[in-house]
Symmetry: D2
Amino acid sequence: MDFQLVLDQINTELRPLMGQGGQVARYIPALARVSPLQFGIALRTCEGETAQAGDSAVPFSIQSMSKVFSLTLAIKALDEALWDRIGREPSGSPFNSLVQLESERGIPRNPFINAGAIAVADRLVSQADALPELLRLLSGLCGEAVQVDAEVAQSEADTGFRNTALANFMKAFGTLDNDVAEVLAVYFHQCAIHMSCEQVACAAGYLCRDGRHPLAGPDVISATQTRRINALMLTCGTYDAAGEFAFRIGLPSKSGVGGGIVAVVPDRLTLCVWSPALDATGNSFLGRQALELFVAKTGLSVF
Amino acid sequence: MDFQLVLDQINTELRPLMGQGGQVARYIPALARVSPLQFGIALRTCEGETAQAGDSAVPFSIQSMSKVFSLTLAIKALDEALWDRIGREPSGSPFNSLVQLESERGIPRNPFINAGAIAVADRLVSQADALPELLRLLSGLCGEAVQVDAEVAQSEADTGFRNTALANFMKAFGTLDNDVAEVLAVYFHQCAIHMSCEQVACAAGYLCRDGRHPLAGPDVISATQTRRINALMLTCGTYDAAGEFAFRIGLPSKSGVGGGIVAVVPDRLTLCVWSPALDATGNSFLGRQALELFVAKTGLSVF
Amino acid sequence: MDFQLVLDQINTELRPLMGQGGQVARYIPALARVSPLQFGIALRTCEGETAQAGDSAVPFSIQSMSKVFSLTLAIKALDEALWDRIGREPSGSPFNSLVQLESERGIPRNPFINAGAIAVADRLVSQADALPELLRLLSGLCGEAVQVDAEVAQSEADTGFRNTALANFMKAFGTLDNDVAEVLAVYFHQCAIHMSCEQVACAAGYLCRDGRHPLAGPDVISATQTRRINALMLTCGTYDAAGEFAFRIGLPSKSGVGGGIVAVVPDRLTLCVWSPALDATGNSFLGRQALELFVAKTGLSVF
Amino acid sequence: MDFQLVLDQINTELRPLMGQGGQVARYIPALARVSPLQFGIALRTCEGETAQAGDSAVPFSIQSMSKVFSLTLAIKALDEALWDRIGREPSGSPFNSLVQLESERGIPRNPFINAGAIAVADRLVSQADALPELLRLLSGLCGEAVQVDAEVAQSEADTGFRNTALANFMKAFGTLDNDVAEVLAVYFHQCAIHMSCEQVACAAGYLCRDGRHPLAGPDVISATQTRRINALMLTCGTYDAAGEFAFRIGLPSKSGVGGGIVAVVPDRLTLCVWSPALDATGNSFLGRQALELFVAKTGLSVF
């Protein structure tokens, strides 16, 4: 299949729609001033073939897409033991809801809602240098130095009252072992990591190759662990729209409020699309359409 | 792959566990007196190859597995218009919960929770002979006459206070067009359909062949519609354990409290397993293990 | 205190506001066609002095105000045993909510939300002729024949899907002993009782005299039982606005969607006000203002 | 009425039950080590008559009883404007629940649940020296220097993860104007105020005298404001047991997890009872019984 042609077609079809729908995230200034007139897409096959179109080399704030990589580190370190404190079910509630957390006594529903990702961060803090480890993992996976945008990280911390509430609430229930401020520092920094579509498509490569490193490197995680992360992405990766994504797109995906979405076609390729304007569910307005087009044009879907 | 060998191994491994865990559904006498000492499994590939083991020819009450077929009829008749009154997101709540229905103003979260299936039944009642149509569909799909167990249907009606509550609640919100009693009659009867593993594995065949009839017959639904039903089964098909099923098994599945589970490997095969004792999530205790074993032995999974 | 003067002043102040705010209940035709241009008020002291103004002799549909009298019958028959199946706490949710009922396993929060009143009706059905007993009680209390408006009762039944849902839901939990249809028949008929402000002010008289009959008659209930009904009216009697009523008015009160409100000044008097247009909380728009004025002018309040 | 005799009788009846039921609050060491073998009761009439029995002069941690006094300061300063950010309805949920706060977008249900009291503290922080003002008010009201137990205040802060969650959550919704840490410091310190039954009974005196100072001093608040605080105490003052308190006791009351309860008989007297062991609803096990006995013996109740 000529993937470069497919991505070019998608770029041609969707570029005219930039700025026509959705809204850039406004909760911190550093995100609010990103231009919505950007659209990038990149993929990398299991065999290492790449394709890209549009603003695919422009770095953006990966935000919640980072949850896939922090989860990978935690599963690598703890495997099944991780699930003592985090569930694996879709939440049926907004990504930052406290209701579910209360009725289920401090155990977050899954690692991709904010509470769950904070609980994952707590597990990483217990291991060692959580943030440096995560940056080391990402840099190795895409073969380039990956960094945190310090201004974004600071803004996340300054305005993160709801995440601070979630973390304290879990601390009250005993879900977190470590100091709340230390855990949140990791979480706020991981959300502020900057990467381009090309970098993400490469870094996520282990998810379409049963856990094997996309470049030269040791296996990241096992085949079973990989399959499980993909399952979690499909059922819980796109906030309240996970059912809708499965229904219309049918690929394990994880989105972020920076406007990026990473998707996996098991045994075939990983794909990253980015456009900053978000729809009402917090997913990239054009990113979602790009994935629908990709599936329609290629027939690639897990179903 | 020698599927007959795989099913024989699974049957050999799991038969000794019959009666060792789980509990037969007790809410109606006709289900409560079914012996837990039964285990059957059957599959049918896209090419028509079959394999079976254990009590694969014994008819059982398909219960909520019927929701896949009633949904198929409704999608065939209404396509996208069906989704005006039914959501497509995992529920995050027990299958017969009213809470979600209240907060979302009478729109059930998905067609596989009870409220959603009742809403689907209402749509079928608006079309025509809902129940005869469904039986006709099933009989055609498996090539044998499929019937309702009248005693089970009557028991469902006599004890279905919660389903009656759900239906009246949706009627109050305007989700149902037809008379509550008439809609519930269809729902209670579809739950009381009796089929064997072999029949179900054959009948569900269109789900692994892009909607094409498993025997000689016209296309059941389109490829896109088929893919969407598979997506809904994966995200919502096994009650509160959908995330867990995706995580451990990774196949679109739909279970029933009669102890059956139907699963799909897209483009490969459909599979039905049955054992009456249920685990705490309402899914067949051995059926779940059988699916895990099947995936472990064959490597077949959508992820 | 010259109560006649007070009621005349209130009538003079509020009559010009008739039709200026609120909306007549629209869920059944018989209520929807009642003119909002009506306002009546009547009181009766412990000593038997009466005062009235405006449309105080016009009968109206007492609706949920009937819950006070059915509760009285149930307490008379069962005393403490009544509380095995009904709570005594404010609900914190709308009067016809199912959420609370689900989380508290079918036990309604208090006897004044719909679910609670249906549970009270079930207790009365277990005793004997529930509806005739209730009409006998009311007729004796006000010294005139009290009747049900058959058209209203039929409309309640025809449109009562939410109440039917509540009743079936409680039946599923075992809160109701009797046939759902029979219990609902009592409930729908009690809501359709017609009385005037003067009749209600007299009939409720036992609530300000420690349970003693307002006319010639045996004690209705004990002093302790009376105090408890007053407490329930104060904490739970006016739907979601109970806190607001306590805060602004400070009298045990029970309202109905027919536009009536009955209020008690313990050891002094009972009061009934009626005006059909309702505010957003389902309480009479002018009735509420009338009670505020009454308290302001007389200084009578339990606090 | 011989109030001294009544209190002596209550003390005689209940002292033998000390240590027989309930549990001392365990969430901070300073409270956990308080002996449950203590019981005190004191009252003060509108005319200044006092009566006391048992450990009525022993200071204890007033905890949530402080919410009455901080609310008084806030109402004095802001009157109606206070209610822009705080509701006045019973919560129907546990005192430290986040669920209600989420569904009602950060507006706490009433000033006596923790979230509401934290919102009140925020209003006081906006005024000026919140904590010194509160201590000044209390010292003036009881004629003796009132102080904070520094160890208790520190422990509250060290373990107050849930309150920190509530405060951050409200900050996220814009309910709090001030720095979260500063608001919580006031809240944790007010909970750590130590007073005896005799001091509290005197300090609360304005609540039974239409807002007039119990000793020599200017009016504390207006008669209407006083009546409203009493209404809030009755409907919301005793956590999840407010309905039960109204039903069995019928007096405006506010309890604290230190084991104290303050109650008001409007126009007659204020009463404080203390015994450290709590029942399952977080109210003093013997305190509740003492209030029931007091009402039974004196017939004093608002209903």
